[in-house]
Symmetry: C2
Subunit: 384 residues, 2 copies
C-alpha cells in the first residue's frame, strides 16, 4: 500500500470546456485532450499527480456514460491490481447532475466499500498543477484535518487580483496535529469585481477556491444528509446497489431525480457558516485553463521574449515548425497537420483542427463559447 | 470565321501571384485558379472574354513550360478546329524572360504563320473585366487604329486616385476611321504618389495602364527591331523554326540569351515619345486582383450590408455555410473543406487550403508576399 493510508482520490471528469473549442469537443472534452502538448491528457496528468498519494487502487473517476470507455482506455493504471477492477474505479453517470451528485456518489460508494472513516479528496480532471512536492504536502495536511472531522478545502495562493475565481476567506489557525498550516474558513465568495479582488489580495487572508475538497466519506455524507436529505438518500440507495446486479436499475430510477447542485453551494458554504470547514493553503502553481488566453499564457511561460513581469505573449501548441509569424509576435497557434501563417495580427489565436478552424484574439477568448452556441443553432452538431 | 477578321489574341500567362498565396502557388499560379468562385479560372475567363473577338483558332497563350499541360487541359476550346492545333496555340517558354519576349514571340510566330499585317492584341491572363459589350467595342476600335500602324493601348478609366497602377496620358484625337475615341499617347508614367494621382484624376487625361496592347505583328516587330535588335532577331530566329522540328534546338540555344524587359519599357515608352502610340479608353470595369484586399472587395461587391459609397467589407470565396463570423462582420474567408470560425477580429482575411492556412488582415494584404519569402527561406518549398 503506497501513499496516504486509507485515502482515496475522486476525480469528477465532466464539463465540456467550450471555451477551448475546437480543441475541446462535446465528444472529447478538455479533460480527455492533451491541451498542454505533454503527451498526456489533463485527466492523465491529474492521475499522474495523485498516484503517489493513493497508488493505482484508490482512485475513482466519475464521468459521463459517453466518456467512460475513453477514460478507461486512457487510464490503464487503474487495471484493478487491488480491490477494485478498472471498471469499478470509473463510475459512469447516466446524465450530468453537477458536482455534488458526482462527488457524493463517490463518497457513498467509498463509504459502502471501505466504511465511513475513509478519507476522500476531490480533484478536478481538467486543472493543471506544477509543484508536485508542495501539492503532496498540502494534501497530506488536508487529510490530517479531514480525519478529525473537517471538510477541508485547498486554497490556492492568489498571485493577482483575479476576477475569474471564487475566493476562500481564512480565519484562525485550526490547531490540528499534522496540519500546521490549516486554518478555519470564515466564508466563500463568488467571483469578485476588480476592486473587491484588490481588497482580497491586500488582506492576505483570501485564497482562490480551486474546488478541491478533502473529507471523510462519513462527514461529507452527514453534511449532505443535513443540507439535502433527498439527494443524500438517493446517492446512498444507488451506492448500496453499485457493486451488485441492481446498479443499473437504481441508476435508471433514482439518478434522474437527484438535485443538480454544486458542492460549494450544497455543503461547503453552509458548513463554513457553522465552523466546519478548514482551508490548507496550497503554494503550488495552479490553473484551470479556462480559455485560450489562459492556455496561451501557460504554454508561453517559457517564452524568452516575454519581458519580466508581463505575461508571455507568444506560444504554440503542436509543431512550431509549422507556424510562421510575420508582424504577429504574440500569436498563439494550435497546429494540426498544416502550415499556419499569421501576418499582421495582434494577439491572434489560431486553432487548426481537421474539421474546424478557429481564428480569434486573446482578448476575445471568452467569446469562443458563443461560437459553439452559434454553430449549434445552425445545426452543425458534427462540429460541437 | 467569327470575330474581328485577321485579329489574334495573345495571352501572356505568367507571374506567380504571391500576394494571393496560399490560394495561388508556384505550381498553380493565380491565372490557373478559380479565384472568383465562378467555376472558371482567370485564364479561362480571359479566353471566354476573347472568344467572341477571335473564335477558338485565333488565340495564343504564352506560358511557362511547367504550366503548359494544365493550360492545355483548362482550354479544350483551343482544340485545333482551325489552322493551329491546341499544341500550336499554347507556346511554352523554357524560362521566364518578361513580357516583351513573351508577346514578341507570339508576334513573330503570328507574322511567320499569317504575315506581318495580321493584328494581335495582348491581354493578361489574370485580370478581371466586367462589361463584355464595352470591352468588345474598345478592342474593335484598337484594332482599327492598329491597322493604320499604331501601337495601341487600352486605357482603363480611372475610378479613383490609385497609386497601384501606372497611367497613360492622352493627347489629341487620333482621327482614324473606325476608332473614334482613340487619342495619341503623350506618355506613360510609373505608379504615382498620392498627390500626383489626384492631379492625374483631376485633368481627365490620364487612364490606368492595364498592359493591354494592340498592334500589327509587323509594326510591333519593327519597333522591337529599332529598340532592341538582338531581342528582335532572337525571337525571329525562334519563330522561323517554331512550326518545324528545329524548335527545341532554337529554344535551347537562343531563348536563354533574350533580354528580360517589360513591353512597356521595351517599346511602348520610346515609341510614345515619337508619336507612334495611341490609346483607346476602356469604359469597362477592370481589376488586376493584386492582393486579398482587392479580391475581397471584388467578391463583396454584392454585399447588401455595404453602405453606399464604401467598399463592401464582408466576403466569402467558397462555401459561406462553412463560415461563422462573430463580432467579425468584415472578415474575408476563403474556405476549404473545414468550418471556419472568426471571432472578434476586424477586417480579417482567412485563407484555408489543404496544406497551408493564412490568417491576416485586409490592411496587411500586401505583406503576404513576405510570408511566401519567409517560407522559402525556411526551405518549405512544398508550400510555395
Amino acid at each position: 500500500m503506497s501513499g496516504i493510508e486509507d485515502f482515496h482520490a475522486v476525480i469528477p471528469a465532466g464539463g465540456s470546456g467550450t471555451r477551448l473549442w475546437p480543441l475541446s469537443r462535446t465528444g472529447r472534452p478538455k479533460f480527455l485532450v492533451d491541451v498542454l502538448g505533454t503527451g498526456r491528457s489533463l485527466l492523465q496528468g491529474t492521475v499522474d499527480r495523485l498516484l503517489p498519494l493513493t497508488g493505482p487502487d484508490r482512485i475513482l473517476v466519475v464521468t459521463g456514460q459517453a466518456h467512460r470507455d475513453e477514460v478507461v482506455r486512457q487510464l490503464p493504471e487503474l487495471d484493478g491490481s487491488g480491490t477494485e477492477g478498472a471498471a469499478e474505479q470509473v463510475l459512469a453517470e447516466p446524465s450530468p447532475r453537477d458536482s455534488m451528485a458526482a462527488i457524493g456518489l463517490a463518497a457513498a460508494v467509498l463509504a459502502q466499500r471501505h466504511g465511513p472513516s475513509t478519507v476522500l479528496g476531490s480533484f478536478a480532471a481538467d486543472h493543471v498543477i506544477a509543484g508536485q512536492d508542495v501539492f503532496e504536502r498540502t494534501v497530506t495536511e488536508a487529510v490530517a484535518a479531514a480525519r478529525v472531522g473537517y471538510l477541508v478545502t485547498v486554497g490556492i495562493k492568489a498571485t493577482g487580483p483575479s476576477t475569474a475565481f471564487g475566493y476562500v476567506a481564512a480565519g484562525d489557525d485550526l490547531g490540528v496535529a499534522g496540519a500546521p498550516s490549516a486554518r478555519h474558513v470564515t466564508g466563500f465568495t463568488e467571483k469578485p469585481d476588480a476592486d473587491t479582488a484588490w481588497t482580497y489580495l491586500a488582506t492576505g487572508r483570501y485564497s482562490w477556491n480551486a474546488g478541491m475538497f478533502v473529507a471523510s466519506a462519513g462527514v461529507l455524507l452527514d453534511h449532505l444528509h443535513t443540507q439535502l436529505p433527498a439527494l443524500h438518500d438517493g446517492l446512498r440507495e444507488i451506492a448500496a446497489l453499485w457493486d451488485t446486479p441492481g446498479r443499473a436499475a437504481a441508476l435508471e430510477t433514482v439518478w434522474p431525480t437527484l438535485t443538480r447542485i454544486a458542492i460549494d453551494h450544497a455543503i461547503a458554504e453552509p458548513v463554513a457558516a457553522t465552523g466546519g470547514v478548514a482551508v490548507v493553503p496550497g503554494g503550488f502553481d495552479w490553473d484551470d485553463i479556462g480559455d485560450f488566453e489562459s492556455l496561451a499564457t501557460l504554454l508561453g511561460a517559457g517564452d524568452p521574449d516575454g519581458p519580466g513581469g508581463e505575461p508571455p505573449r507568444s506560444a504554440t501548441l503542436g509543431d512550431d515548425a509549422l507556424v510562421l509569424r510575420l508582424d504577429a509576435p504574440d500569436a498563439f497557434v494550435v497546429t494540426g497537420d498544416r502550415a499556419v501563417t499569421v501576418v499582421g495580427l495582434d494577439e491572434a489565436v489560431v486553432v487548426d483542427t481537421p474539421d474546424a478552424l478557429l481564428v480569434t484574439t486573446r482578448a476575445h477568448a471568452q467569446q469562443v463559447k458563443n461560437a459553439v452556441d452559434a454553430w449549434r443553432e445552425r445545426g452543425a452538431t458534427r462540429l460541437l
